[in-house]
Symmetry: C2
Subunit: 310 residues, 2 copies
């Protein structure tokens, strides 16, 4: 199977992910034309200034006309409304996908609005930065990152294979699984870490003024890494927590049990329990570096360079 | 005041911080000679192979002889024993300092063993990576990082001024405050973030095998940043939590109150509360970038580069 995989790609929503798909699809020749719609007129204008597509539309209904691939790149909470709007205007046989960080809720929200003959292949490219908007996108965002697809069991395998090839051409490693399994894995790898980061940064911002200014000053000691995560898009993350409530609450329950044990160890001066946990977590870091999901370069100094030789 | 500030610097302990002090002091000409002791014979041998000092000693007592500046670079829990050993052998008028992440407990542990005429100036360079040991050190580790000094009110101001100048020559920004205030600020900026990171990585490692392997695979979605923090030295961090128990438990209490509120918001579908918090935390991130404590470069992609132009 060779590029272009689709003659016309429609992107509904042109934030960090949408604009990066546009740039990567263009750079790789994965599609013919690119049609763009986004709700805000000023953002649509900005997308045009940036030259992200070939055609720009004030409504989603117009943008999807004649497109053989439609990727909805809006916050999870807005997917149902978009699906309802585009449903009657989709070209027969088109692929419809999304990029939401939650999958079961998105399937439930979109599927009822999609007519027969459409290949619905929900997707989640696990890539991003703490920035958002069309100016934040770049063509290499998906390189060597995972993209999880969660097609239902009744979806045409040839359509799935073509969409997998499209994402691989954009640089991603692709894996397919059920929407429910995706949501459980992401609850612990992504949603809980974000919730905890938001929480600790919130706790710090509520401190007495005399301490708060020093929290910023001395943030390099660990806090800084949490603020980076807690700077992610508020609308997107509100929707994620509401849409993946059950899995997030399940993981939060486990986290709280463990934290209670750790708190007790500190209170009672049980150094052995602390040391045992801290040794175990260090090994997990090494596994992540070993499988290439992060670099081994020391990063606390934020110089983006390896330690100098000698 | 000009370098060299001390004719002979003794470093007791030669891990990441000790070796970085040795390299930075040498590179900047901040000291004349460097004497090194560390407990493990193989680590001492490694320090000699790396050429970190001018003289190497099997005991701390020998290493401090004739030194006009002694910096104890061992885990917080080991400071008392080192102070007891070196106390009788210190040169009159020498500066004695440390690099521990907790200050009140270190003062309590070391001060009783230091004879009159010694200038005791506890210190905490807020710099590091997730690596440890003499091979991890580099000369620029302290550049543009804070070093907090917590001298008692009775310490000779001239001795403090000289030690401040020494640290500035190593590249650090220096601030002085009370040991108690330091411990409260670090509890929220450093100790609590580490505790939370250790905890969440531990929670993930206890998951059922089918999910656990995917936690590593999809770690780029947020979890990865926690594993970086949770890979820090286990002995050092065990000692920190035991030594700064009260301040850590205080901040942990606040964190738990906030998390309970956030959990309830998710459970009841209260999107407004989530959105309000996530907007507030984003602003804190911007403050940290604005005051130069982190770069604005998007880091989730871990490429160490700015977004390409255009």
């Amino acid at each position: 199977m060779e590029a272009p995989f689709y003659s016309r790609l429609a992107l509904i929503g042109i934030g960090l992910i949408g604009s990066s798909i546009a740039l990567a699809a263009r750079a790789s020749g994965a599609v013919g034309e690119i049609a763009i719609h986004t709700r805000s007129p000023s953002t649509l204008k900005r997308a045009e200034e940036l030259g992200l597509g070939d055609a720009y539309f004030a409504t989603a209904a117009e943008a999807v006309k004649g497109a053989d691939c439609v990727i909805v790149c809006v916050p999870v909470g807005a997917c149902a409304a978009v699906a309802a709007e585009i449903g009657p205007h989709l070209a027969p046989g088109a692929v419809v996908s999304d990029v939401g960080s939650v999958k079961a809720a998105v399937v439930k929200a979109m599927a009822p609005h999609l007519p027969a003959g459409i290949h619905f292949i929900p997707g989640h490219p696990i890539a991003g930065t703490e920035y958002s908007g069309p100016d934040a996108g770049f063509a290499t965002l998906f390189e060597n990152r995972w993209c999880v697809l969660t097609p239902g069991e009744d979806v045409d395998p040839a359509a799935v294979a073509r969409f997998v090839a499209f994402w691989r051409t954009l640089g991603a490693n692709v894996e397919t699984m059920s929407a429910e399994h995706h949501d459980l894995v992401l609850a612990i790898t992504s949603h809980l870490p974000h919730l905890i980061a938001y929480n600790i940064v919130g706790t710090a911002s509520d401190l007495e003024a005399g301490i708060r200014s020093e929290v910023l000053k001395f943030s390099a000691s660990g806090f800084r890494d949490f603020t980076r995560i807690a700077a992610s898009d508020p609308t997107m993350w509100r929707d994620i927590f509401l849409a993946n409530k059950d899995a997030v609450l399940e993981m939060l329950g486990r986290f709280n049990e463990d934290l209670a044990m750790l708190t007790r160890a500190i209170r009672t001066g049980d150094g052995d329990t602390l040391f045992e946990l801290f040794t175990r977590t260090r090994a997990i870091r090494r596994s992540i570096v070993a499988i290439g999901q992060d670099t081994a370069a020391p990063d606390f100094g934020r110089r983006g360079t390896e330690k100098p030789e000698g």
